[in-house]
């Protein structure tokens, strides 16, 4: 899987002080916005963090200099629209920015929609400062979080896929989960950690993380395929 061309948003791991890292924080709540920006800036002193409060501001910044941002931390509920639109725009324009959702709760239906649309992970606002950096680090290193509730939703999503239809992405990767990925997802849905799962399945934590990334990607592929299929059924395309 490593020889595959890089999907947008899966950047190589960055230096630990955040050197060269550019992030955009989009949240309409001023306190939350500053808290996230300041926490990131403190933890990664060399990183450059910009902020935006609305969809319009964010789009202007993102499209102004398309290669500027490595990460966009996006609140979904914005005054002039949904963060989902920003995620879709990033993917549509092929920007090298990794979209990450900021959310209060990890069982929000909109969050799952955002992940399906291509968000590469999410960060919970309702944590302490140390927790925020930790969450960001994990995503940055390719270990996106999957809460039990999200995992359960993902499982339901993959189960509902039409079995005989083999959907593939551009690189020929099927949209269905492998049995091992399915097992990892099932255990994530039970609230087990990566370490527990790797022990349970007799695999390394790294392999487990690779599976998680694959699950994220396939969720995105299958969601797009599903949307296309639905559009096709409605005669839109």
């Amino acid at each position: 899987m490593t020889d595959r061309p890089q999907a947008p948003g899966t950047q190589p791991a960055l230096p630990h002080d955040g050197h060269g890292l550019r992030a955009l924080v989009i949240d309409d709540n001023r306190e939350t916005r500053s808290w996230i920006a300041e926490t990131l800036a403190l933890a990664l002193p060399m990183a450059q963090v910009d902020v935006a409060a609305t969809v319009a501001e964010a789009m202007a910044l993102l499209l102004d200099a398309p290669s500027r941002f490595d990460f966009a931390l996006i609140d979904l509920d914005l005054p002039d629209g949904s963060g989902l639109d920003i995620i879709r725009a990033i993917l549509q324009h092929g920007l090298p920015t990794t979209p990450i959702v900021i959310t209060i709760f990890d069982d929000d239906a909109t969050l799952f929609e955002a992940l399906s649309a291509g968000a590469q992970g999410y960060i919970l606002k309702g944590v302490k400062t140390a927790g925020l950096v930790e969450q960001f680090r994990r995503i940055e290193q390719g270990e996106p979080p999957i809460s039990p509730r999200i995992a359960q939703r993902m499982l339901a999503h993959f189960k509902a896929l039409p079995a005989p239809r083999r959907t593939e992405d551009a690189g020929g990767c099927p949209a269905e989960l492998t049995p091992r990925e399915g097992e990892v997802l099932r255990l994530l849905g039970k609230g087990l950690t990566m370490a527990e799962i790797s022990r349970h399945l007799g695999i390394s934590v790294n392999t487990c993380a690779t599976h998680t990334k694959a699950i994220y990607r396939k969720l995105n592929i299958s969601s797009r395929a599903e949307a296309a299929l639905a559009a096709d059924r409605r005669g839109l395309i």
Binding site: G126, V127, K128, P148, R149, Q152, G189, K190, G191, T193
Partner: protein, 756 residues
Amino acid sequence: MGHSDGAEAPAADPGGQQLRWAIGSTLQVPLFRLTLLLILAAALVSATLALRLAQPAIGAGLLTIDAARGTIYTGREGPAPLLALLPAMGAEAAPLPVTPALVIEDPDMLGSYAARRQLFAAQDRLMALAEDALARGLPLRGLIALPDGQNALVDLPVTARMPARALPAGFWVQLGCGAVILAVAACFVALRAGQSTGRPTPEGLGGFVLAGLGAAVSAFTAGLYSSRGLVMDGGTMQLASALNHIFTLLFGVGMTALFARYPRPLLGRRWVVAGAGLVALQVLAYRLELLPHDLVSPQISVALLFVAIIALVVAQHRATRGHPADRAALRWLGLSILLGSGVFVALVALPVALQHDSILSQGMAFLPICAIYLGTALAFARYRLFDLDRWALRIMFHLGVVALLIAVDILVLVTLSLSGPASMASAVALVGLAYLPLRDLVFDRLFARHRPDLASIHAGAVTVAFQIDPAAKAEAWQLLLTRLFAPLHVTPADHPVPAARIADEGLALLVPAQGGAPALRLGHADGGGRLFAAADVALAAQVTQLVQAAEQDRAAYEAALHRERRRIARDLHDDVGANLLSALHAKAEQPRQDFLLEALADLRQIASGLAGRPVTLEAQIAEMRAESRNRAEARGHSLHWPLGSADDCTQLISYQTRRNLTAIHREALSNALGHGAPGEIRVTADCEGMMLHYRMENPLAAAQAGAGPDRGAGCGNMQSRAQAMGGQLHSAADPARGIWVVTLAMPLTARPEGTP
């Protein structure tokens, strides 16, 4: 059609009485009444047609009568004026000159009594000629003037009966106009509001109906003689002419009666009667030739009546000042009548009165009069003329559609009968493929009885029950009843109605009050098509019960919903509020953040409870596992919670169970984190049948070892939560193994105690 009042009638002759009630009630069913009147009208039309066809005809198809050019013969010799009629070959009779007076449309158009008498005498001679020719089986002979100035004799065959196709268009126009006018008048009589709702018969309606009758009969009688061609029995013609005279003036009298009382009562009835008497005297004087012709000729009477009508309309116009509705009705009615009658007077009556030829043939002149009637029928849809109700319009609309269908049917039949064999086949195919299905469709749409099925009755009842606003509920209830019984009118009942019952011998159904809706009186089942029956009472009672049952269900549902909301409100207050307060008053930053995080977690669970999403036990355990491990690790403990049988339990659990289970687990974990020794916290959750077995162990700290089973402030809280769920909680040290153990056994389906 007298009003029968069953309640007060003596019971001397129950059988006859009942029969009379039944007949009286049936007569009050508007549709029945209307049908009866329409049958009478149809009989009148048929009689006119039969009488007309029974007259002999001379030269049918060869002669055309033209007011301007006289009588024209059209044969091989080309069109030529007919000068005289000669008897059949071999008969001894003087030739009869064909003068304009002989073929005049209406005897009353002649300028003197003598001319009229001469006409009737000539008609008698003509009749004699025709009968003689018929007896000999020979044609009459006609003297025509050829274009070259020569005269010639032509054969004019005589038939004993007038062939229908030889009748001039004017006759059909008169017959049709008369029929339409009668139908409209019948509608107004049959559907008038007074009869069914106890209101008095509306003012002016009598005059309008009289005028209709006058117009229709004068059209029929005029049709009889003005289409005579040449021949008609003098006596019949005299009678028809007299009737025409009388009924034409009846039209005028009816109109004056109308505008004397409508829209505002201007003149007393005796004035109208006096006027009518004067007109009757004129008729008498004219018919009996008592007064000079020019004083009492029908044209004079018509002109006088017309002036009276105009005067009344002008007076009405003044009287309706400040009554916009009346003014609108008058404007429509008055204008259409003045226009219609004006056309008639200006083009027919006035020229004759001034000794000129009329401009429009009398037959065609009935078209504007017919238009008045149709216009009036349409106008009352808008202005509720004569206080007729909306439902009457519905019936008239349906009647119009039926009439249209019949007309199209006749047209199709006539077309079919006239077409040649080749085109006949395609015409039949077209009728079969297109016309008949379309006709069925229209008929079904308008007239099929749509008795609602059980599903729609139920849906209607539920809709009524689920309206919160009393006005909306009343409206929905009325709508449901209307769908079920299609009554012509729905009015609030005069008295309280304890149970559904029939009133007025089946004319009405009384329905008890329902929720916000008052007791109702439904008048005339199925659009006035039938009487209410026992089955309707049963249906009304069932629907009432259905609505009540649905209302009870809704109340129970609302109560449950309310309980749930109260519970959630209490959780918000007790749990979230307590944590926020603790955060507010916490002295150190660390515990403040902990309290806030806990408040957030509570909020999340309460919010998901509000969203009403069903949660399975396995999902709940997964969430608790993920959340508590984060907490434990943040405090330097490790948590081991292996998969157990509860992780495969797909049993749905209630919000209450979730809240209590989460709270107990959090409390236990807080105690373990706060009071236990560092080390691994072990949790297991298993499911046996419908029982959840939960267990938490943590290393025992020295301070804990001697503590009693009610360690910590939260212990009592845990205990009460477990009991509320019908479960059992034990919390105690196991000094032998050096651990503190919390066990909980809790049924998964138990309803929480202490909730109503």
